[in-house]
């Protein structure tokens, strides 16, 4: 039996402890150990962004983070985005703008969009396309995703 390591971290604002093997990715532990299956596996090598989470505020591919590395870190996943009974404005805009079809890439896009809008509340279309280039979508052709991020920016500005 492979030896496991104890890791204490914070996920979506709550302290979490788990045991993992050194070879397990953060994505695998989130999904298989902790039941947080909102982060998706599309490629498991950092080329599709479906597993994007925020690690200490930065967007990362959780498939390219070892779970043992997150001791003491702050992690936000798609499950942590909506507060109380309300969707996050980005989630709401993705729905209103029909920015998803199959939906498998959606959690990753929403996390990347959040990271972007947290830094740049009013990004240009080019900036959105550039910053979201690490997330692949095969259904939408990206058009409605870009509109949803633009609309999210407007809505979030209005809420301030």
């Amino acid at each position: 039996m492979v030896r496991k390591t104890h890791v204490a971290t914070t996920i979506n604002g709550e302290p979490v402890e788990f045991l993992c093997e050194a070879r397990q990715s953060l994505l695998e532990v989130l999904r298989e150990t902790l039941g947080l299956t909102g982060s998706k596996e599309g490629c498991n090598n950092g080329n599709c962004g479906a597993c994007t989470v925020l690690l200490d505020g930065q967007p990362v591919d959780s498939c390219l983070v070892l779970a043992v590395e997150v001791e003491g870190a702050q992690i936000t996943t798609i499950e942590g985005l909506s507060k109380d009974s309300h969707l996050h404005p980005i989630q709401q805009c993705f729905l209103e703008d029909a920015a998803l079809q199959c939906g498998i890439c959606t959690p990753g896009f929403i996390m990347s969009a959040k990271a972007l809008l947290d830094r740049d509340p009013n990004p240009s279309e080019h900036a959105i396309r550039f910053q979201l280039a690490g997330n692949l979508c095969r259904c939408t052709g990206y058009d409605k995703i870009i509109r949803a991020v633009q609309d999210s920016a407007k809505r979030m500005a209005g809420q301030k």
Binding site: V2, T5, E21, A22, R23, S25, N44, N45, G46, N47, G49, T52, L55, Q58, P59, V60, D61, C63, L64, V65, L66, V68, E69, E71, S112, A115, F130, Q131, A133, G134, N135
Partner: protein, 296 residues
């Protein structure tokens, strides 16, 4: 992926002794964006992975009148997030902004990109153009290596058993100097360079004549290539299109690429010239204090 032992080092000495004990069965983890993929796909193997991100020396940088001292583990996003670095070393920023997508840049470091030693690495031509010195710690003490001599073969470099790259030392940004990096990829992001080209120039006070220049190419040889002759030939030449075209021709001639899934020999040789010319244009414009965006 085979299982391995994971250790977090908090000092350079601790990392060196951990690495020395396991030799080539030990791997250094910074951003992990190459290492984890390679371990998963059985391209590299390890019994021990040493996380060096808790070593303060590797995770900090300082920009002074003497130049930039960049910790080997500093992730790309911190580099382009620093306005002073953007101003002083725009070529470095060109590289840092295109290594993978944003998610990769949150983790990947320039030091890691160098130690991965891919012939197509996006940071190495830039480091060569800026004439960077690599600081290495090891069981025998510390040493330095010019970056142009760092890579020895695809995926291989001068690091010996137990050695760790700690810092990259950039010379001070000279007056009337500028650097730029450009790569060619079929997509606009998330791709490996078919060819990459870095250029650095120092102009005379009037911005008309090239005083010194350094050119480098990626993905046209087993290691990133310093174009020493073509660089030397630029000294004293006017910063004009004709001069850039001469350098481009020299770059095409020296490129010794291979045919692979990313491009053909002929196309890569041609691109080496195109990209050297374009990166020279960028470096010269920046040396003159003008704005230049590699993506437009």
């Amino acid at each position: 992926m085979n299982d391995f032992e994971f250790q977090t080092a908090t000092t350079v000495d601790e990392a060196v002794s951990l690495l020395a004990a396991k030799g080539n069965r030990a791997r250094v983890l910074t951003g992990g964006t190459d290492l984890i993929v390679q371990l998963r796909e059985n391209l590299r193997e390890a019994d021990l992975v040493v996380d060096v991100k808790k070593i303060p020396e590797l995770m900090q940088y300082s920009l002074t009148e003497k130049g930039l001292r960049l910790g080997a583990g500093v992730p790309c996003y911190r580099i382009y997030g620093d306005e002073a670095i953007c101003k002083a070393y725009p070529g470095l920023v060109d590289s840092a902004r295109i290594i993978g997508g944003w998610q990769i840049q949150s983790r990947a470091s320039i030091g890691g990109n160098l130690c991965n030693s891919s012939p197509a690495a996006d940071s190495i031509p830039t480091l060569i153009a800026y004439d960077v010195i690599c600081h290495i710690a090891g069981p025998e003490g510390r040493r330095t290596v010019p970056v142009a001599e760092f890579c020895t073969a695809p995926g291989q470099n001068v690091l010996k058993r137990g050695e760790l790259l700690t810092e990259l030392e950039f010379p001070a940004a000279a007056r009337h100097s500028g650097g730029a990096y450009l790569r060619f990829i079929p997509r606009n992001e998330m791709d490996i360079a078919v060819v990459g080209a870095g250029a650095w120039v120092q102009l005379d006070a009037r911005g008309e004549k090239i005083e010194r220049a350094r050119l480098a190419l990626a993905a046209v040889a087993p290691t990133p290539l310093f174009l020493s002759d073509a660089s030397a030939a630029l000294a004293g030449k006017p910063a004009t299109e004709a001069t850039f075209k001469e350098a481009a021709a020299a770059a095409s001639a020296i490129a010794k690429p291979i045919n692979d899934k990313r491009g053909t020999v002929e196309y890569r040789k041609h691109l080496a010239g195109v990209l050297i010319e374009r990166s020279l244009v960028g470096a010269v414009r920046r040396a003159r204090g003008e704005k230049w965006d590699p993506h437009l």
